[in-house]
Symmetry: C2
Subunit: 297 residues, 2 copies
């Protein structure tokens, strides 16, 4: 059996034809139409039709950057893709495709992917963090994807770490996302006197040995470590898997993150919970979405 996994980002749509084992057999990438639902739906249908032209497709899973209600199946909040707000995307698409379609928060989909086919195989308790434009998180608790009372769970990006800290897009201040994300890295670098405006430029400077850039990565890693220690003390996990665009610079982050976990988490809980890199990398979300479709989760 084959499943289509689609990861809708604010910039690009990534789609894959995924087999039962979670292996990607074919892939597509195209720009996201964030303001026109008809164009977006047509793009999604075209992708699925292309896969269907050479393989049978059993079901479709979609990861979306927003909160999806498990009560109404509506997408309640999706700041980066306004046209899907308050929409039952899975019902709309299912009607057009005449296939089962599920939708899920993209970080939850990534967590499911790593759990079923990546670095979390065989675990009962894990978190998947994805560091990019924001800080996403999905949780596997007691051997199942944890969604909470209405599907909004997992938002470690909006757990507080500096109550009087930087303004967050969510309306609060000092959320982890204001520090552990590409914009967070840039803000920290600016506080250290740098003028770089992209995470890549700060990374390049760090690789060249620039002290401020190295300090910016170490600070970001420390905040990542506090987030990991919080998850360990609250949820007693077996692993924290870290992915996302910023993890190209994983070595610069994970060392200071791990040191911070050692300083802050309960030793018997931290001992059993390694902080590791994503195995599925940028495919985690689409593989997870396909596996959620496979399992009709």
């Amino acid at each position: 059996m084959n499943y289509v996994g689609i990861d809708i980002g604010g910039t690009n749509i990534k789609a894959g034809l995924v087999d039962d084992s979670g292996a990607v057999r074919d892939a597509r990438r195209l720009p996201t139409q964030v303001n026109d639902i008809d164009v977006l739906l047509k793009s999604l249908c075209t992708i699925v039709a292309e896969f269907q032209s050479h393989d049978s497709v059993e079901a479709v899973g979609i990861g979306i950057p927003g909160l999806r209600s498990t009560r109404t199946h509506l997408i309640e909040t999706s700041p980066n893709i306004p046209c899907i707000h308050n929409l039952n995307l899975e019902a709309l698409l299912s009607k057009q495709l005449k296939l089962p379609v599920i939708s899920e928060n993209d970080a939850n989909a990534g967590a499911y992917g790593e759990w079923v086919a990546g670095a979390g195989r065989g675990l009962q308790y894990m978190a998947y963090l994805t560091i990019g434009t924001g800080l996403g998180c999905g949780l596997i608790l007691s051997g199942a994807l944890y969604r909470g009372a209405s599907g909004y769970a997992g938002e470690i990006g909006h757990v507080n770490v500096e109550p009087g800290g930087l303004q967050c897009a969510c309306g609060s201040t000092g959320c982890f996302e204001t520090r552990v994300s590409a914009p967070g890295l840039i803000a920290t670098a600016r506080e250290l006197g740098m003028n770089e405006t992209s995470a890549e430029a700060i990374y390049d400077a760090a690789i060249r040995g620039n002290t401020a850039a190295l300090a910016a990565f170490a600070d970001t890693g420390r905040f990542l470590g506090i987030a990991c220690a919080d998850l360990i003390n609250l949820l007693n996990l077996e692993s924290i898997i870290v992915g996302g665009g910023v993890m190209a610079s994983a070595d610069l982050l994970l060392q200071s993150a791990t040191a911070e976990v050692r300083r802050r988490a309960f030793e018997p809980a931290a001992r059993i919970c390694p902080i590791v890199q994503s195995q599925l990398r940028s495919d985690a979300g689409l593989i997870g979405a396909a596996m959620l479709a496979r399992d009709r989760q």
Copy 2:
């Protein structure tokens, strides 16, 4: 059927004969022997024998202030009761009593009590916070007591809120417990110029209208609100139930806590999650321990 629930604190042991519905039919209280395991075991056996002198007892549940491993059943950390450290208390007591005995972290027991017989009845997703000498927490997730990979879960008291903040007994700095607890209230009051050395004295001053005392409670409530917002954003709960000794002053705390939740948590998640007071008050732990014994959890 009747069950004995025992809540072992650093100062007192509270015990109750509890029926199937969670009602306390008889109760005892005596000082805790924190340094002599033989004296402690003898006290526990005497309590159970007293209840047995007039009623049959099916099983015994014990709440302990420490981390209990679900893997080994040993109590791994118990700073306030050194004599039970590294001990399988339930096996020892079961052998002497010839009855089934379970043990559990006291805040987890309190959460279970509120869930089965108190303010959390019928919920699938809730947290119970107990504010006293420390800040304890137990979680009910997906309709079951959540223990995590090895039994240590629920430690919101040691989630970070001020990375460079006050020294915490756990070894880290700036944990919620350093602010949301009786010692935390005292520390905050001191920063505001007060010299009071007990939560009760600060409470009395607040009742008399003392501005600094009122500000200390408002600040403590704000930190409690940040903890609640963190739990809501991460776990998407249906209720947060707050108890413990400091909740005698609940009105002074919950107002600022609720305002802080509104400022910081996702609106669709916060809307469904009221912050309420414990119904079982100081009996939550012993009732929960008895109900865990009833359910052989």
